[in-house]
C-alpha cells in the first residue's frame, strides 16, 4: 500500500499574454510508508513545481494542475480544498526548502517560529511549547538550544538554519517529508551532515521522504527508489541499486558520467552533458533530450517515446544496453 500515489501529475503555467509552459508533464510515482525516494534532474526540469503542487503551494493564479496525488488512500492532494490542506501541512506532510535563510522570517526569533508549529498542530503553548522546541532543536543537533531559541535567523550559521527548519518540519512527526534540494545552499562539509541528519530522522520516525536534488551523489546513499526527471517527465525510474548498476537512459548515463570520480586519471576532462535544458524539444514532437543526446536516432524525433521496461523503466528508443 502506497502512502502517496502520484498519477499523471501535470502542471501548466500560462496566462493571457504568455505561452503555456508545461513545467511538469504527466509525472507518476509512488512513495511507500517509510521509504525514501529521489527525484533527480537538472535545474528547471520541474522538481520544485512537483513538490509545490503536492503541497498545494503553487500560486493561486496562472497555473493549471491536473492528475491525481492520493495520500494515504484517501485525500487527493491536488483537488482537496485549502482548509483540509492547511490541516495536513506540517502534521501529515512537511517540506524543507532549498534556501534556509529566506525560508525563515528575518524579524521573528527562531523560538517563536518553532513554537508556532507546535501551537498549530499539537496545541502546545507557553512553557510546554518552549521545552518541546528546545528538545526539537537538540534533536536536530543544534548546540545550546535554549539560547538559540531567542536568536534571529541571521545570527545562525547556514547549516544551523537548515537544522532549525528541519526541526520545524519534523516537529509533528509527519508521515511524509518533501526535501527540495535541502543542501544546495550549504557548504560541502555541512551538506553531508544535513543529509546524515535527515537520514537518521526519517529512519527513527519511520517517515517517508521525497528527496529532490540535481545531484546523483546525494541520492546514492539515501534513496530506495529513484526517479530521473527531464523537462517535466520521468525518463527513468528504478531502484537505487538497479539505476546505478545499469543506467539505461542516455540522460541518466550522462548525469553519472559528469560526476567527478576519485579514480579517474588526473588531467582527464569531466564529461558534462553537452547543451543545456533550454535546448529541448517539446515532448509531443519527440524525445525532449534528443538535441543533446549522443545516441540520438531518427526515430527519437518521430513522436514521444513511451515509458517501457517493467520495474526498471525508461523513456528511450535507443537505451544503453540495447546494442550489446
Amino acid at each position: 500500500m502506497a502512502l502517496l500515489n502520484v498519477e499523471d501529475l501535470t502542471v501548466v503555467f500560462g496566462g493571457k499574454d504568455r505561452a503555456d509552459v508545461r513545467a511538469v508533464d504527466g509525472v507518476s510515482f509512488e512513495v511507500r510508508a517509510g521509504e525514501v525516494i529521489g527525484l533527480v534532474g537538472e535545474s528547471g526540469c520541474g522538481k520544485s513545481v512537483t513538490s509545490l503542487a503536492l503541497m498545494g503551494l503553487l500560486p493561486p493564479k496562472g497555473n493549471k494542475v491536473t492528475g491525481k496525488a492520493i495520500f494515504d488512500d484517501g485525500v487527493n492532494l491536488l483537488s482537496t480544498d485549502q482548509r483540509t490542506l492547511r490541516d495536513m501541512r506540517g502534521r501529515e506532510i512537511a517540506m524543507i526548502f532549498q534556501d534556509p535563510l529566506s525560508s525563515l522570517n528575518p524579524v521573528v526569533p527562531i523560538g517563536v517560529q518553532v513554537t508556532e508549529v507546535l501551537a498549530r498542530h499539537r496545541g502546545m503553548t507557553g512553557e510546554r511549547a518552549r521545552k518541546e522546541a528546545e528538545a526539537l532543536l537538540d534533536r536536530v543537533g543544534i548546540p545550546d538550544p535554549r539560547r538559540r531559541l531567542k536568536e534571529y535567523p541571521h545570527q545562525l550559521s547556514g547549516g544551523m538554519r537548515q537544522r532549525a527548519l528541519i526541526a520545524m518540519a519534523v516537529a509533528c512527526r509527519p508521515r511524509l517529508l518533501i526535501a527540495d534540494e535541502p543542501t544546495t545552499a550549504l557548504d560541502v562539509t555541512i551538506q553531508a551532515q544535513i543529509l546524515e541528519l535527515l537520514k537518521e530522522l526519517v529512519h527513527q520516525d519511520g517517515t517517508a521522504m521525497i528527496m529532490i536534488t540535481h545531484d546523483l551523489g546525494v541520492v546514492a546513499g539515501l534513496c530506495d527508489w529513484i526517479n530521473v526527471l527531464y523537462a517535466g517527465r520521468v525518463v527513468e525510474t528504478a531502484s537505487r541499486h538497479s539505476l546505478f548498476a545499469q543506467p539505461t537512459h542516455p540522460y541518466t548515463h550522462g548525469l553519472l558520467a559528469s560526476i567527478p570520480r576519485l579514480d579517474s586519471v588526473r588531467g582527464d576532462r569531466l564529461n558534462p552533458i553537452p547543451g543545456s535544458v533550454r535546448d529541448l524539444l517539446p515532448w509531443v514532437e519527440g524525445c525532449a533530450f534528443a538535441p543533446r543526446c549522443e545516441r540520438v536516432l531518427e526515430s527519437c524525433v518521430e513522436g514521444p517515446p513511451a515509458l517501457v521496461g517493467g520495474a526498471h523503466a525508461y523513456r528511450c528508443v535507443n537505451p544503453f544496453g540495447a546494442d550489446s
Binding site: P106, L165, A169
Partner: protein, 320 residues
Amino acid sequence: MTQLARKKIAKLERLAELAAVHANEGGESLWREAFRRLRHNPAAIVGAVILGIFVLVGFVGPFLVPFSPTQTGLGFVSEAQNIIPGPSAQHWFGLDHQARDEFSRMVVGARQTLLVGVVATAFGLFFGCLIGGLAGAAYGLGGKRGRSLDNVLMRFIDMLLAMPGLLLAVSIVALLGPSLTTVMIAVGFVSIPTFARLLRGSMIAQANAEYVVAATSLGVGRRKIALSHILPNSVAPVLVQATLTLATAIIEAAGLSFLGLGNPDPATAEWGAMLTDALARFEFAPRLAFYPAVGIIITALGFTLLGEAMREALDPKLRK
C-alpha cells in the same frame, strides 16, 4: 485617474519595493546596518539635531519662556504710526502687533506645531495602516473574496488620492468647522491614502516571500501569517513615510491656520496664524513674518532630511 494620483501611486509603489528586499536581508541586522549608515550620513545628523532642538523647545520651552504668550501691552505699539518695537535685550524677537513677546509666542508655537504634526500623522498612520493592512492581507492571502475586499478598499483610497491634499483638508475643515482638532483630523486624513497604499504594497510584496511559503507549508494559519510574519516585515517603508509626512503635516497645518481655518481664538500662539497676522504688517515689520516662516521651514526641513536619509539607509540599491 488624474495624472497627479498616478504619479503619487508610482512613487508609493517604489517605496513599497523596499520591503520586498528587506525580507531577504536578515531583519535585525538590516535595522542595525541601516542605523549605522544613518549615523554616517551628515544629512541625517543635521535632521536629527534640528528635530532634537525642536522637540526640546516644544516640550520644555513653554515652561521657561520669559513672558506669557498671550500677555498684551508689553510695550508701546501703534499701528497707525507704524510702530512695533523690534528686538531688544528684554524682548529678543521684539513685540508683535498686540505688544506681546514674539519670542515667547514662537516657543509656545513650537509646541503647538509639534502637537499638530504628531497627532495628525498618528491619525493618518493609524487609519492608513488599518485600511492598507486589511487590503494587503486580504489581497495576499484571502483568495477571491480577499481580492474583492482589497479592490473596494483601494478604489476608495484612489478616490482620496486623486484629490489635491490641501483642497481635501480645506473641505474637511469647512465641513467640521474650524478648530485645532479639526485641523489635526483634516491634515491626518489627507495622509491616509499614502500610508494605506504603502503598507498594502509592501505586504503584497511580502506575501510571495519564501518564508511565507515555508510557514504555509507548516500549516500556519492565514491570519497568523499576515499578522506575525508579513506585517513586521512590511513596516520599514511606512516608518520612512511617517517621518516625511510629519514635515508635510506641519506645513499643511500651518497652511490651514494661515487661511484662517485653524484655532478661531486669535490669542493662541500658532505659527501659521502668526504668519497671517504678520502679513498685514509686512511693510513696516517684515520680521514678524520671518520668524514663523523660518520656524516652519526649518522643522519641515529637519523631518525631510531625516526621512530621506532613512529611506537611503534602507534602500539596498544605494548601498555600497
